[in-house]
């Protein structure tokens, strides 16, 4: 019983960064932008959050700063892909390389290269009374850091925005047929750019949660593929918030399973176990490649005649 509880708890907590980031990029993906630079955005968010928390002494302020900095960072991506209409994959890859270098440099400049990390304010678990007393699932579901609750609460809200509001309709339409949107007076550039900025907000939050919720400081390469997993989660989740939640949980479970298999010492080399989440991602993507809500104009820049 204890094992199940701790496994569930780890699954939710480990699914949260993927969920947060993919709830952001599911919107930009729907608008027709494939942002392979999510990895870099999360990296920037992770460092900015730590710095914010270090200087302000508050994890909340740190997270807000992470969001703001990531939005500034992703606006570069938005400028090149949406306004200049450059290739999204190339720019996204460039953003990842930029973020990797930038975070290493900034981290060493501020905190020094070899000293042990100072302690900062991080997300603590927040126990919900009564609900957390339910046997087995109670401690797993209702004794988590606040971002975990927020991420899961946001799933139905994101669904509502995407499928029930005027903004959501515009967003989905822009990804399908931008020219048609143009003829009914919608600014394709505006919708796409705002969707990209919005994905930056959540990617920054996701990064901050990695460095201040799962860990308690920034290390180089801290995201280690989490951003790519978020992009994969959107595809695997068939471009809906609910689907994204499902795929994030699958990935989270794979991460949670990792140390448990290792602990069971079944003779499988550790390196193979570390591959597990990524292997599951690949298999999952192969399984869903056919049925798809993938927007028709995905990754195609819209150029007015």
């Amino acid at each position: 019983m204890q094992g199940i509880t701790s496994f569930l708890q780890a699954t939710l907590r480990l699914a949260t960064p993927t969920l947060l980031a993919s709830l952001g990029i599911v919107f930009s993906e729907r608008a027709g932008i494939v942002n392979i630079g999510t990895e870099g955005m999360m990296l920037i968010g992770a460092l900015a959050g730590v710095m914010g928390s270090y200087y302000t002494g508050s994890v909340i302020l740190g997270t807000l700063i992470a969001m703001l900095v990531t939005v500034l960072f992703v606006s570069i991506f938005g400028f090149f892909t949406v306004i200049i209409k450059a290739d999204q994959t190339v720019i996204g890859t460039g953003m990842n390389i930029l973020a990797a270098g930038l975070t290493i440099t900034a981290n060493r400049a501020v905190f020094g290269a070899s000293t042990s990390p100072p302690s900062i304010d991080v997300f603590d678990s927040w126990r919900i009374p009564l609900l957390a007393d339910i046997p087995v699932i109670g401690p797993a579901l209702f004794n988590q850091p606040i971002p975990v609750y927020l991420a899961f609460l946001f799933v139905p809200i994101a669904g509502f925005i995407m499928f029930r509001t005027n903004t959501g309709l515009k967003l989905r339409a822009v990804g399908e047929n931008p020219r048609a949107c143009d003829t009914v007076g919608i600014s394709v550039t505006k919708v796409r750019f705002l969707a990209v900025l919005y994905s930056g907000v959540l990617a920054g939050f996701a990064g901050a949660f990695v460095s201040m919720g799962q860990m308690s400081f920034f290390t180089e390469g801290i995201i280690s593929g989490g951003g790519f997993m978020a992009v994969a989660a959107v595809v695997f989740g068939n471009y809906t918030p609910r689907g994204v939640m499902f795929s994030s949980l699958v990935f989270g479970a794979a991460y949670a399973l990792m140390p448990r298999i290792q602990a069971a010492s079944m003779g499988i080399p550790g390196q193979f176990i570390l591959m597990l989440p990524y292997l599951i991602t690949i298999i999952a993507l192969c399984l869903v490649i056919r049925r798809s809500n993938r927007p028709t104009s995905s990754a195609v820049p819209y150029i007015k005649e």
Binding site: R164, T165, N166, T167, L169, K170, R172, A173, E176, N177, R179, A180, C181, D182, T183, V184, G185, I186, N293, P295, T296, E305
Partner: protein, 529 residues
């Protein structure tokens, strides 16, 4: 060209206007794209409640002018007055607010969304949270009022082409459009659907709406329009000509083309020779694994044109793909000059003297990003005289040959190094036709050979096809343009849901008989009913 004569006739008709309140006046509108002049000093005056035809060949500047009016293009010069007031329209949103609606030739709908979502998309009256139910009710009431019932909850991809067009019209009416621009609205419709559209247009004008009807189909203009403005090479060739004063289609054609045109393709009686193509009990599935062809059998002899009529999507495309080896047949036999050609590769089939003018020149006929000479060697690059020993291409010979081909088939181009994608649609098609006919085929498969072409190019390509027949080729002509099939074919088969509904000799063919077969009603049933 008889530019001078035209000017005179323009002045004559200017005096004779249909009485009524003017809704739109475009004055001396010009539009340049880089060095190309798309519109030059165009004047257009539209009166409330009329159907005003905007006539011109492809590339004459009709769509450009309307895109200027709709705010998609900024005019280089000129003024627009709407309901007597000078307006500058910078965006479609602004045009919509003025009461201008446009149904584009390629529908501006989003297939993955429902009909009602498409209707309210971008509508300014939307709340933050969409109330689709209320919108659907308004929409349904409106669609019933105009006799265009469409289920608002259907996804657009499930609607037929005719329904999609009606949805586009309703989308504009939902935004209270008073002036409705219909860009080539009949290009995708069956004869019956065209009648339907005309009824809708009549009802709309009765309720005071104004229609600008863009077309190059003369008969339609004679039927539905009140007045007509003709564009030629971006300039006005005739302004506001009352249609009742027009004697016949030939007169309009002359204004449009600038010279006398013969609307009928001349053709002698066929002298069929031995059987070239033999198709026996062929069945095939389409890409969605549904039965697309069912037990189809026919023959074509040398020196004869067999026309295939039918509404788009009734197996024509699959038939051609089976014959050219692009998709497999599930059953049956195909023999070309007696050689078994079923389920062979396209290359093997083409080697038996088959030429193919494909249905979509952009996707299947040519490579837009390659230049002319490269496109010309696509079929025979691997043999003499295109390539020499060692497989190297002989560019000097190819260049010379390409130039000959361009002049023989009237492909207007700055040179053979020009990218095929930069040519106009008509010249692209002539390039494809030229390349295919140059191989002197025994069997010519021509699919929608004149789709999207102007009168001049259409007549030219049609006469070339007839010449091929006279040379002794067997021709399979697939077209959704009934007139084209009826004019050119010696015999006509009609496909409906993958089956041959009947075979008609050219002399017995008329629109009514073919139309019934196209709708799936066999002769004996029609007589019985």
């Amino acid at each position: 060209m008889s530019e001078m004569n035209q000017e005179v006739s323009v002045n004559e008709v200017k005096e004779d206007r249909v009485a009524g309140k003017e809704i739109l006046r475009m004055v001396n509108v010009s539009k340049h794209f880089a060095q190309v002049v798309a519109n030059k000093d165009v004047n257009l005056t539209v009166v409330e409640g009329e159907v005003h035809a905007l006539l011109g060949e492809n590339g004459a500047g009709k769509s450009t002018l309307m895109n200027v009016l709709y705010g998609l293009y900024a005019p280089s010069a000129g003024e627009v007055y709407y309901k007597g007031e000078k307006v500058e329209i910078h965006s479609p949103g602004q045009a919509i607010n003025l009461g201008i609606g446009m149904v584009h030739q390629h529908f501006m709908l989003i297939p993955a969304l429902s009909a009602i979502e498409n209707v309210v998309l971008g509508y300014e009256g939307n709340g933050t949270v969409l109330d689709l139910k209320a919108a659907a009710k308004t929409f349904s009431d409106m669609s019933k009022q105009y006799g265009m019932a469409i289920d608002p909850w259907m996804r657009v991809e499930q609607l037929s082409v005719g329904q999609q067009q009606r949805l586009e019209i309703l989308k504009a009416l939902y935004r209270d459009a008073e002036l409705l621009i219909l860009d080539e609205p009949t290009a995708v419709l069956t004869p019956q659907e065209v009648e339907n559209l005309f009824d809708i247009i009549r009802q709309l004008t009765k309720e005071g709406k104004t229609i600008i009807f863009i077309s190059h189909k003369l008969n339609e203009i004679m039927t539905i329009c009140d007045r007509c403005t003709v564009l030629r090479n971006g300039r006005v060739a005739a302004e506001g000509l009352p249609v009742k004063d027009i004697k016949n289609a030939n007169q309009l054609a002359e204004l449009m083309v600038g010279q006398t045109v013969n609307l009928k393709t001349d053709k002698s009686v066929a002298k069929p020779g031995e059987v070239v193509l033999q198709v026996k009990n062929v069945s095939a599935l389409n890409d969605r694994k549904l039965q697309a062809l069912n037990d189809v059998s026919f023959e074509i002899r040398a020196g004869e044109i067999l026309g295939v009529a039918g509404v788009d999507g009734n197996g024509q495309s699959e038939l051609v793909k089976v014959l050219t080896g692009l998709i497999p047949a599930s059953e049956g036999q195909v023999r070309i000059s007696g050689v078994d050609c079923i389920n062979k590769s396209p290359k093997q089939i083409l080697e038996h003297g088959v030429s193919h003018i494909p249905e979509d020149r952009q996707k299947m006929g040519m490579i837009a990003a390659m230049n002319l000479r490269e496109n010309i060697c696509l079929m025979e690059y691997d043999r003499m005289p295109y390539s020499g020993k060692g497989g190297l291409l002989r560019w000097s010979w190819i260049d010379e040959h390409s130039r000959e081909l361009c002049s023989k088939y009237q492909v207007r181009t700055p040179g053979v190094q020009e990218l095929a994608g930069n040519l106009s649609g008509g010249n692209q098609q002539k390039l494809v036709v030229g390349r295919e006919l140059d191989r002197e085929p025994k069997l010519l498969i021509a699919v929608h050979p004149s789709r999207g072409l102007d009168i001049g190019a259409t007549k030219y390509i049609q006469s070339r096809i007839v010449e091929e027949r006279d040379r002794g080729a067997a021709v399979l002509l697939v077209s959704t343009e009934l007139d084209e099939v009826m004019d050119l074919s010696d015999r006509i088969i009609v496909l409906y849901e993958g089956e041959i509904m009947g075979t008609i000799e050219q002399k017995d063919a008329d629109r009514n008989a073919l139309g019934l077969l196209m709708a799936g009603i066999k002769n004996n049933e029609a007589q019985a009913g």
